[in-house]
C-alpha cells in the first residue's frame, strides 16, 4: 500500500556563497521549471520537513547547526545536496575552515553538481529526492540509480555544462589538470598511454580546462544532467584513454601529435597524411638523411 507524500522542503545554507541558494529560489519561483507540479511546500520549521536541501561546503561554523537540524528531523526523510560544494566541498576542499562535504554529517540521497547548478538540475534533484522519500515511506531500499524525471535539459548555447574529452585530440599534456581549481581532473600514466578522468561532482564549471587546452580536446557539452544518487557520487566520471602509438621504424612507443596541434601547424594541408606512425626521432633522422645525404 503506497502512502501519498507531501514533500516539505527545508533549506540549510552551510557556508554557501549564496549562488546555489539564489538559483534554488529562482527554481522555486519560476513556473517554467515545474517545481509546483511536484506539490512542494517550503517550510520554516525543521520538524515539519521531510526533504532537507543543503547548500554550501559545510564550514566549521555551520557544522553544529546542520547537526542540530538533522537531529530534529523526523524519519523518514530525504537529503538533497545542491551544488558542487555540497557534494565534494568543491574549490574549498582542504581549507582550514571546511569540515565538509555534507555526507560526512548526514546520509545524502541526491547530489546535484554544478557551480551553481542550472534550475533544471535543481528541479530534477528535488524531484528525485521526493522519489527517494516516497520509496523510503513505502519501506523500499534507496535506489542506486534513478531515471531522469524532467526530460528537458536544454540550456543556452553559451552555457558551459559538463566537460567532455575528444581522445583523438588529447596529448595528455596535463594543462587542464594544472589549471583546474577544484581538483576535478586527473591524468594518470598507465601501460600503453594515459587515462584522463573528469570528475563531474568536483567540477566548478569554470571552463578553465577548455579555455587553456592547446588542442581543443577538452570541451563543454552544454549538458546539465548533474542530479545523481549518492551511489553515483564517485562513478560520475568521464574517462578518456589516450594511447601511445608504436613507431613503424624503431618500434618505440611515442605520444602521437594530436590532430588539433597538426591542424594548427599545417593550416592548408590535409593532416591525415602527416600522422603516419613514425616517432619524432625517426622523422628527424629521415629528414636529416634526405637533406644532407
Amino acid at each position: 500500500m503506497s502512502k501519498e507524500v507531501v514533500p516539505k522542503l527545508f533549506r540549510v545554507n552551510t557556508g554557501s556563497c549564496n549562488g546555489c541558494d539564489v538559483e534554488f529560489v529562482a527554481t522555486a519561483f519560476v513556473d517554467k521549471f515545474e517545481l509546483e507540479s511536484l506539490g512542494v511546500e517550503l517550510v520554516e520549521h525543521i520538524n515539519e520537513a521531510n526533504v532537507l536541501v543543503v547548500t554550501g561546503p559545510l564550514t566549521a561554523r555551520s557544522e553544529p547547526f546542520l547537526k542540530k537540524y538533522v537531529a530534529q528531523m523526523r524519519k523518514p526523510y530525504a537529503v538533497v545536496g545542491i551544488g558542487t560544494c555540497s557534494v565534494t566541498s568543491g574549490i574549498f576542499r582542504d581549507s582550514y575552515a571546511i569540515e565538509g562535504p555534507t555526507d560526512k554529517i548526514v546520509d545524502v540521497d541526491i547530489n546535484v553538481a554544478g557551480c551553481p547548478p542550472r534550475p533544471e538540475s535543481i528541479a530534477e534533484g528535488v524531484a528525485k529526492g521526493i522519489k527517494v522519500l516516497q520509496q523510503k515511506l513505502n519501506g523500499e531500499a534507496t535506489p542506486k540509480t534513478l531515471d531522469m524525471i524532467f526530460s528537458d535539459f536544454t540550456a543556452p548555447a553559451s552555457f558551459r555544462g559538463k566537460i567532455d574529452l575528444n581522445e583523438d585530440m588529447c596529448t595528455a599534456c596535463r594543462t587542464c589538470e594544472t589549471v583546474c581549481p577544484s581538483g576535478a581532473i586527473e591524468i594518470s600514466a598507465v601501460e600503453g598511454g594515459f587515462i584522463h578522468k573528469v570528475w563531474h561532482n568536483s567540477c566548478c564549471f569554470c571552463g578553465n580546462c577548455a579555455y587553456f587546452c592547446p588542442t581543443g580536446a577538452i570541451f563543454n557539452t552544454n549538458s546539465f544532467d548533474t542530479a545523481k544518487t549518492q551511489d553515483e557520487k564517485y562513478s560520475e566520471v568521464n574517462v578518456g584513454h589516450i594511447n601511445y602509438e608504436t613507431c613503424s621504424c624503431c618500434g618505440e612507443n611515442y605520444m602521437p601529435p594530436s590532430r588539433g596541434l597538426l591542424g594548427k601547424a599545417y593550416v592548408h594541408d590535409d593532416v591525415s597524411k602527416l600522422n603516419d606512425a613514425i616517432c619524432p626521432a625517426c622523422r628527424k633522422e629521415a629528414n636529416f638523411k634526405r637533406m644532407y645525404g
Partner: protein
Amino acid sequence: MNIEEFNNAIKNNIVSQYTLHDDVDSYGNPNSWIKLTNKNDIEAIAKSVSAYKGRCVVMSVYRNEDGSHMLIYHFDIDGMLINVEVPLASDDKNFISITPILPSANWAEREAREMYNLEPVGHPCKDRLFLDPSMPKGEMAEYISLSKAQVGLSDTDILWNKVNEGIK
C-alpha cells in the same frame, strides 16, 4: 594637510628612531611610508591620526623567514594614505592595541590575532572575529606554497582513490 605637517606633529612624540619615505602613486595621490624601530611608538602615531580625524583603513601582516612579524597599519587622513611599519621581534607576539584610540582598527587587529596568533594588548574585544572557536589561532602561520594554493592541490588523494574505486 600634508605629510610634512603630520611629521611635525609626530616627531616630538616618537621616542625611537624612524624613517619617513614620501611618495605619490600613479594617480598623484600622496602615499607615505613610516618605518618604526620601536613597536610602542605606534600609539603616538595613532593619537596624531585621531587628532587629524583620520582612520585606520586596514592592516597588513607578514611573517619573516626568521619567524618575526611585521605589522603595517594603513591610515587615511583626508585622502592621504600613511603606511606605518611596526616590527615585532621573532619571540614577540604582543603589540599595543590602537583600537582604544582609533576604533576603526578594531577588526583589523582582531584579524591579526586570529590569523597570525599575535595579541593586541589592551584591545577591548576578546571575541573571535570570523574564525570558528574550534580552530586554533594562527592559521596563516602554516606554510602553504603559492603554487599549491593557486591550483587547489589536495593534501590527500582520499577522494580520488574513492573515484578510482567507483569507476572500476
